[in-house]
């Protein structure tokens, strides 16, 4: 049997130099790409401005048929992407999975950006986005409060809590590393890093309280990550809409979220690993373990699809049966089959070791999975709404330029901000990599912390 690669291949004393090397002076093309990505983002802002000026009628949303278009499918997609960050950071931390060490910071950064982007979609969908504060828990002039039993208020609470907790978790993990950067930077940047490092020195007292809190935050974030996508799924599962009203939705949504999130981590990680020459920190073994996670998630997702169809048939509910027949054979049927192919069948290629240990096939398949998972959300939201109980509600939806512009803008914003993150913050958690790198001992051999 071939020997497996280690999860980390770096010496303790080299960690600072190599990780700080990623905060490099980028070539001109880096700034050019960021400029182009922001240009696309501004195109999206223009589209949003046009929408505000002209009203929701300028989209292709047409009540009573499809009143939630790709604005809502993008919301689920981005919340889903955000999940893998917390999965890798918090859940794998609690399970002491060492392969998370080299990738958790990047996954957390992706989480932060994706939650912020996800939040923009319901904001647009409000139509009058400037009235967003109406959903906050405070009374209006007629002493009417938001309804605390509405899944939409659950959503507001869950997503805002998720953003806050993810930010706290991200920043807490970053503090010791900011001190490392502060100690090795000169000029105004030293002040900025020093300000956010808060005077961290790595003293026993600091590590003591830090360690306890980090563990507690990991535990809280783990519970939260499961709850958030469960709550998002209730936006769909609680109404009596055929195709949505199902008890399978919470686990199905959580699995889908982790699946797309892990795929996006691979998509971002593989080029970054190559660009920064950090193959010894983010090893092929780490990628392989992520690919194995993907196989599991694809399996759960495939099983969920089958269960949905089985329950529609077994329930003998005419509306459920009709919507699932329409799903596989209707005018959106090609999308459903593409989802099955991209999100369930394509990841099965990772059963072949050569595929899951080669960065290029991994990268390509991770993109295919993400394409599949984006369309999966399209199927859930749009296909289900396009054939409701009564034929007068039936219709066809295809996104217009406004929906597509903002979708493009958010993807470009994700990539641009991720590139800026990699430029200005240590994308590899320095202190955690040091801990796993085997600290030197006088009597020889590496020290392994408990």
């Amino acid at each position: 049997m071939a020997e497996r690669e280690p999860e980390l291949d770096i010496k303790f004393e080299n960690v600072n130099n190599q990780v700080l090397g990623t905060l490099w002076k980028p070539p001109f093309i880096f700034w050019l790409v960021i400029g182009l990505l922001f240009l696309a983002f501004f195109y999206g802002l223009v589209a949003w401005g046009y929408l505000v000026a002209t009203g929701m009628g300028s989209t292709r949303l047409r009540p009573p048929s499809v009143m939630w278009g790709i604005f809502l499918s993008n919301f689920i997609f981005f919340i889903g992407l955000a999940h893998s960050g917390t999965l890798i950071s918090a859940i794998l931390y609690l399970f002491r999975a060492k392969f998370r060490t080299s990738i958790n910071r990047m996954a957390e950064a992706m989480t932060m950006i994706c939650i912020a982007l996800a939040g923009t979609y319901p904001l647009i969908h409000l139509g009058r986005s400037w009235l967003i504060y109406w959903i906050l828990p405070y009374p209006n002039q007629r002493q009417i409060w938001p309804d605390f039993v509405s899944p939409l208020i659950f959503d507001v609470l869950a997503v805002s809590t998720y953003f806050t907790v993810s930010l706290i978790f991200f920043y807490t993990g970053l503090v010791p590393d900011l001190a490392v950067v502060r100690d090795r930077t000169r000029g105004p940047f030293r002040k900025v890093y020093g300000y956010f490092a808060m005077g961290w020195t790595g003293s026993a007292r600091q590590w003591h309280h830090y360690g306890t809190s980090y563990l507690l935050l990991a535990g809280l974030a783990t519970a939260l990550v499961i709850s958030v996508h469960t709550v998002v799924s209730w936006d769909f599962a609680l109404p009596i809409q055929p195709g949505w009203h199902s008890t399978i939705f919470p686990p199905y949504f959580v699995a889908g979220a982790i699946h797309s999130g892990v795929a996006m981590v691979l998509t971002l990680l593989i080029p970054m690993r190559r660009l920064f020459r950090i193959e010894n920190i983010v090893t092929t073994r780490t990628l392989e373990l992520l690919a194995e996670t993907t196989i599991l998630m694809a399996g759960i997702l495939g099983y969920s699809y089958l269960t949905e169809h089985f329950m529609a048939w077994y329930s003998k509910n005419v509306f459920e049966e009709q919507i699932f027949k329409f799903r596989v054979l209707g005018y959106y049927g090609w999308i459903y089959w593409m989802v099955v192919l991209c999100a369930v069948i394509a990841p099965m290629s990772f059963f072949v070791r050569k595929v899951r240990t080669s960065p290029v096939p991994l990268f390509i398949i991770s993109i295919i999975i993400n394409i599949g998972m984006w369309w999966e959300r399209f199927v859930i939201v749009i296909q289900s709404l396009s054939q409701n109980y009564l034929p007068f509600q039936w219709g066809f939806y295809w996104p217009g330029w406004i929906e597509l512009a903002w979708t493009l803008a958010t993807f470009c914003f994700l990539f641009a901000v991720f590139m800026l993150f990699a430029k200005y913050l240590p994308s590899i958690p320095i202190s955690e990599v040091k801990k796993e790198s085997g600290m030197p001992m006088e009597k020889g051999g590496p020290y392994r912390a408990e």
């Binding site: 409060w145 005077g199 007292r205 306890t212 519970a223 709550v231 001992m441 912390a449």
Partner: protein, 170 residues
């Protein structure tokens, strides 16, 4: 010879650092601080054996968050008694979720604030004796030399594996 200062001993090896720390503690020297670029559970066992109080703050935050947000929900629904979705005005079952979100939010905020303040952060001036090397790959012990012979203490530290010993004004 006695003074009011301290000695900073730096170590290149983790095992000698931990052994020296334990010896200093056993011999009842006043250890002002120990520095490590990574979190070492053994270091904490020697210097800070009591569990961190941040746990209690987190628990308090969780309780405050859960009860606070449910109280708000009760107040909101009682002040406008409208039956929606067929749920009672005081709808305990859906509020389990509301309580959960409030609990996690406030527990996390309290955990963060607690660790920051219990760790003595944010601090405008960095701990005496701290140097950039200590966030690199060296470990450090800052030990008071006020009640002991500095030369003897320096010798003790070097004998126990310190790569460098320097005088620090505290």
């Amino acid at each position: 010879m006695q003074n009011d200062g301290a000695l900073l001993a730096t170590f290149l090896h983790v095992d000698t650092f931990l052994a020296c720390l334990k010896k200093l503690k056993d011999e009842k020297h006043r250890i002002i601080e120990a520095f490590s670029p990574v979190r070492l559970p053994e270091m904490q066992e020697i210097l800070t054996p009591k569990p961190s109080l941040t746990r209690m703050f987190t628990l308090a935050g969780g309780i405050i968050g859960a009860t606070g947000i449910v109280s708000l929900a009760i107040y909101a629904h009682v002040s406008f008694r409208l039956i929606v979705y067929g749920k009672p005005v005081i709808a305990w079952v859906p509020w389990v979720l509301v309580a959960f979100e409030g609990m996690v939010l406030f527990a996390s905020l309290f955990a963060f604030v607690a660790w920051v303040f219990k760790a003595g952060l944010p601090q405008a001036s960095i701990d005496p004796g701290y140097s950039a090397a200590l966030s690199g790959h060296t470990f450090g012990i800052l030990v008071s030399s006020a009640d002991t012979d500095t030369r003897q203490l320096e010798e003790f530290l070097r004998k126990n594996g310190a790569a460098e010993v320097s005088h620090v004004a505290t």
